[in-house]
């Protein structure tokens, strides 16, 4: 019974069916299937397969995003049911947001989805977030990586301010900084002392793996 439900959870992620994923997650809890098994044997292999299909070019972004949504729908039900000490394995913890003065959301959210689909635990703090909000979220989530997005030539400067704020808060050494956004370049990332720059959401995953010293 548990194997069948775990298989269904995996398939719901691959097929991109958030509503099914939610139903199967609830059924699993009703039938006392271990939520950690549901995650590690169902959702994780499911999203990995979605990622592979994407890499092969069979899936495009819409399939990837709905797969990640299905995973999230199930996780929202399963994670609260984990007993203390149980924790799902993640590649790393990421805090993600768009910098102060900038309301552009789509690119940043896409990076979040790509990272989630590749095993990261992502906390998205939204748009127009000042350095204090980033620092607070990094501390609260014990983030390994912070990702700051800026789409405007005028708001790029906030990425530099964030790095300065991390230094003043004394947490610069404990968190890796990734920056991105249309006007941002590798050179700019180096100039302001960021650890990584990704020119698109797909390469962001490689950079994040590299920053975690995890195998790509």
């Amino acid at each position: 019974m548990s194997e069948e439900l775990i298989g269904k959870l995996k398939q719901a992620v691959i097929d991109g069916e958030p509503e099914d994923a939610e139903i199967f997650a609830k059924q699993a809890l009703d039938q006392s299937v271990d939520p950690l098994d549901c995650i590690n044997l169902g959702l994780t292999p499911g999203i990995q397969e979605v990622g592979e299909l994407f890499s092969k070019g069979d899936y495009y972004l819409p399939e990837l995003i709905i797969g990640a949504d299905a995973m999230k729908a199930a996780l929202d039900i399963l994670e609260p049911a984990l007993v203390s000490g149980q924790e799902r394995e993640v590649v790393g913890r990421v805090v993600l947001g768009t910098v102060a003065g900038d309301l552009h959301e789509i690119g940043k959210t896409l990076v979040g989805t790509m990272l989630t689909a590749n095993g990261f635990l992502v906390t998205d703090i939204g748009v127009d977030q000042n350095s204090e909000a980033f620092v607070a979220a990094i501390k609260e989530n014990k983030a390994d990586i912070v990702g700051a997005s800026a789409l405007l030539t005028t708001t790029m400067l906030q990425q530099k301010k964030l790095i300065e704020a991390l230094e003043s808060a004394g947490i610069r050494d404990s968190v890796k900084v990734m920056i991105g956004g249309a006007p941002v370049t590798d050179l700019y990332a180096q100039e302001i002392g960021a650890d990584g720059y990704a020119e698109d959401a797909i390469s962001a995953v490689d950079i994040a793996y590299r920053l975690m010293d995890a195998p790509v």
Binding site: L61, L110, T153, P183, T185, L187, Y188, D200
Partner: protein
């Protein structure tokens, strides 16, 4: 202007959809002071959500006061003759990267690039309207004002730019007015239009709202420039995306005409469709030309001018891809009667400017313009007589008619029509020819200078923001 057989169907469908959205859901105006003004002007305002809806009356009065047949002028007061008749071409902009003219290095753009790229646009005959095309990233916070000074000093052609925040619209307007002899002279013959982009769907930032209203107070033409991304900030279908584009623009046509009746407005779109394999926004895609041709359709429907993103490419160098994409993203805009085609000089999905591409774009435009003439219908008496006289096996090369008419056809300046041997002997690639031409213009082209008194006035205005401002940068 020419129209496709679909254009009327599309225009009616899209307009009705926009009116439905604007009367039922509306759009967000995130500035409380403006919300209050809109409420007293009769808009349906929800102060808490900052959402604004229009009424049929407001729409009617806006479409009545919206100026038609607007002309644009150069710094010397001459109107751009073919504006509104045939498509005009405008510099792209404004990314923060440039391919260095001499080394080809991909680097941050500077004030010197703005100065040189403006002078090149001034010199190139196919470019009608000039933009800074890149950001002067070495000029810090007031780069927008510095860029305007370089536009004023390095070209006499009509110019288009914007300010980054409302606090400097006064200064920008003063400078723009000073070069033509005051505000009255500007209003009679505007040589400048500004542009602002919404965040689709249904939102302009507070800075952009305040900038637009400030420019409207000065009676300066404003371009409402949608940057919708199909599949991300708008529906993925072209018709669905066009509804978002139109709704965002129509909303502000209604706002600006009701608050500042008779403000000249340009219907703009530099929209595109998201690439679902990468999440990037390809600007060389066929869909780029297709979606922005929709903006031309809608602008013609409202009877105003359009500014449409095209002549675009994702190529990083002057290659086959660049030639293919540049041409193919311009053609649909001509087909639907776009007033301004916006993209000269841009490469790499608009994220950089290439001097060489700018030179080659001039060549592409010349070729496209010739093609767009089509087969002209004229009195053919002379041709008939000639054919009769020379049939059979006659030679038209020596006929006076040939001498009188051959120059109607296009003769390229860069593209090679040489034989293999001649081409080999010349040994210069298109890229090298374009580099050489750009370098020659930079070295030799001298746009007519501003009077010393005007330069002094601009300097005085600029020093309110930048105490060290000088023309030597």
């Amino acid at each position: 202007m020419r129209k496709s057989h679909h254009s009327e169907t599309i225009a009616n469908l899209v307009h009705e959809s926009s009116v439905d959205i604007l009367t039922k859901v509306g759009f967000c105006v995130p500035v409380d002071k403006v919300l209050a003004r809109l409420a007293s002007a009769g808009f349906l305002v929800d102060l808490e959500s900052q959402m604004v809806r229009i009424t049929p009356d407001l729409l009617d009065s806006a479409l009545k006061t919206l100026p038609k047949d607007v002309k644009i002028y150069n710094r010397e007061g001459n109107s751009l003759a073919h504006f509104g008749i045939d498509a005009c071409f405008m510099g792209a902009g404004t990314p923060v990267n440039v391919f260095d003219l001499n080394s080809g290095e991909h680097r941050s753009s500077t004030r010197q690039d703005v100065c040189q790229l403006v002078a090149i646009q001034d010199a190139l005959p196919q470019i009608d309207i000039v933009r800074p095309t890149v950001t002067a990233t070495d000029q810090g916070e007031y780069s927008d004002l510095v860029e305007i000074t370089e536009l004023l000093r390095n070209t006499t052609k009509p110019i288009v730019h914007r300010t980054l925040s409302p606090d400097r619209v006064d200064a920008a307007a003063e400078m723009l007015f000073s070069v033509v002899g005051g505000e009255k002279a500007f209003h009679a013959k505007p040589h400048f239009a500004t542009l602002y982009c919404p965040i689709s769907p249904g939102y302009f930032t507070p800075e952009n709202v305040n900038c637009m209203l400030k420019w409207a107070e000065y009676g300066v033409p404003i371009t409402l420039l949608s940057m919708a991304m199909g599949g991300a900030s708008a529906p993925v279908t072209l018709l669905g995306e066009l509804i978002v584009i139109n709704t965002d623009i129509l909303a502000w046509i209604v706002v600006l005409q009701n608050l500042y009746p008779k403000t000249s407005l340009i219907y703009g779109s530099v929209s595109a469709v998201l690439d679902m394999k990468t999440g990037l926004l390809p600007l060389g895609a066929p869909e780029r030309g297709m979606i922005n041709s929709g903006a031309a359709i809608m602008a013609n429907y409202y009877g105003i001018h359009s500014m449409c993103g095209g002549l675009s490419t994702d190529a990083k160098e002057l290659d086959a891809q660049a030639g293919f994409e540049k041409t193919n993203t311009a053609i649909p805009l001509l087909q639907e009667g776009a007033s301004i085609i916006y993209g000269v000089g841009a490469v790499d999905a608009g994220s950089a400017i290439s001097y060489q591409q700018m030179i080659f774009d001039n060549e592409i435009i010349a070729g496209i313009r010739r093609m767009w003439d089509g087969i002209s219908v004229h009195d053919i008496k002379e041709e008939i007589e000639l054919i009769k006289a020379l049939t059979p096996r006659g030679n038209f090369l020596s006929a006076p008619h040939t001498l009188q008419n051959y120059r109607r056809h296009w003769y390229p300046e860069i593209i090679s029509r040489d034989t293999y041997d001649t081409w080999k002997e010349k040994g210069e690639t298109i890229d090298q020819i374009c580099s050489r031409k750009a370098q020659e213009i930079v070295a030799n082209h001298q746009p007519p200078p501003l009077p010393a008194s005007v330069e002094a006035e601009i300097e005085r205005i600029m020093r309110r923001f930048l105490p060290d401002f000088s023309y030597e940068g």
